[in-house]
């Protein structure tokens, strides 16, 4: 977390309060968003349209090193994190599939269809026969598995199976663009040469170290998005 002194020095280093605040807000991201909504909540506080200005100001503000390498390294991460958050926020490219059982097992005379209520591989469950009818097996399962319930979508639930009913075919959603954005951003922590350039720009060792700690934590949090 950046303290006020470091933020003040950052604003001066990039010679623009708004861009300094934008950069500070981005490196304050220390929690990995678990859902698309969480990623969207983070993005709502940031402004992707400032990416060019962020890159430009970092390039100029850290211009003391060779060929602006420090500015380029930092803007790759500080701007790259936006693309990863956007990839998380836009949801799964391949939708999750719900598990299902269709047909009958021993002891039944007509087909039934039982669907998992929540899509995903966790829905591949087994209703273990115990002499109860299907309605009861489902009711007991649902009572014990509130976040992973199933529903008898069609068929006669009063039948008493003498074999287990296995729901299959569930698959988790796949978010294909996250890994690409993460690779583009890179997972390396701040290099020593960039930390040195930052120390010059902020004219304070402690401020540079504090910024690096937040920056590295942000990279870890963003790279942990799945």
């Amino acid at each position: 977390m950046l303290n006020k002194d470091t933020e003040f020095r950052l604003d001066h280093a990039v010679a623009d309060d708004l861009i300094g605040d934008e950069i500070a807000a981005r490196v304050e991201v220390s929690s990995t968003p678990a859902t698309a909504n969480d990623a969207q909540a983070i993005l709502a506080l940031l402004d992707a349209s400032r990416n060019d200005a962020v890159a430009e100001r970092l390039f100029v503000g850290l211009a003391g090193d060779k060929n602006g390498a420090a500015g380029k390294e930092m803007s790759r991460k500080i701007n790259g994190m936006i693309a990863v958050l956007e990839a998380k926020a836009n949801g799964d490219e391949i939708a999750a599939v719900a598990s299902q059982f269709t047909g009958q097992v021993a002891g039944m005379t007509t087909n039934v269809t039982i669907d998992a209520d929540v899509a995903g591989i966790a829905g591949d469950i087994t209703l273990v026969q115990n002499g109860s009818d299907i309605d009861t097996l489902i009711a007991v399962w649902n009572g014990a598995n509130i976040g992973n319930t199933v529903t008898l979508s069609s068929g006669d639930g009063s039948q008493i199976p003498t074999a287990n009913i296995v729901l299959a075919g569930g698959a988790d959603g796949i978010d294909t663009d996250i890994a690409t954005a993460q690779a583009e951003m890179g997972s390396e922590e701040m290099s020593e040469s960039t930390r040195n350039a930052l120390e010059h720009a902020l004219t304070d060792k402690a401020a540079a170290n504090e910024f690096k700690a937040s920056y590295d934590a942000m990279i870890a949090a963003i790279q942990a998005i799945s």
Binding site: M1, L2, E7, D17, L18, D21, E22, A24, A25, R26, E28, V29, S30, S31, P33, D38, A41, I42, A44, L45, L46, D47, S49, R50
Partner: protein
């Protein structure tokens, strides 16, 4: 409020258990953005307002107009 302060608050919120989280509505986020844009309005030497700030203010003004027309 600075964006970095808002982000710190959001991080605390995201780290909290689901049941204890505070949800901000989209309207609240937009209103905060408009307030932030107004508080930090960039005007160049010709008196022109920064394009990004102007966009945020225009969006907020349109929303406000919608709300007023509904009332």
């Amino acid at each position: 409020m600075k964006k970095s302060d808002e982000m710190r608050k959001l991080m605390e919120n995201l780290k909290a258990p689901e049941s204890k989280r505070k949800r901000r509505t989209k309207a609240e986020v937009n209103a905060d953005k408009a307030i932030d844009a107004l508080a930090n309005l960039d005007v160049d030497k010709d008196g022109d307002v920064d394009k990004d700030d102007l966009n945020i203010l225009e969006k907020a003004a349109k929303k406000l107009k919608k709300i007023i027309s509904k009332d």
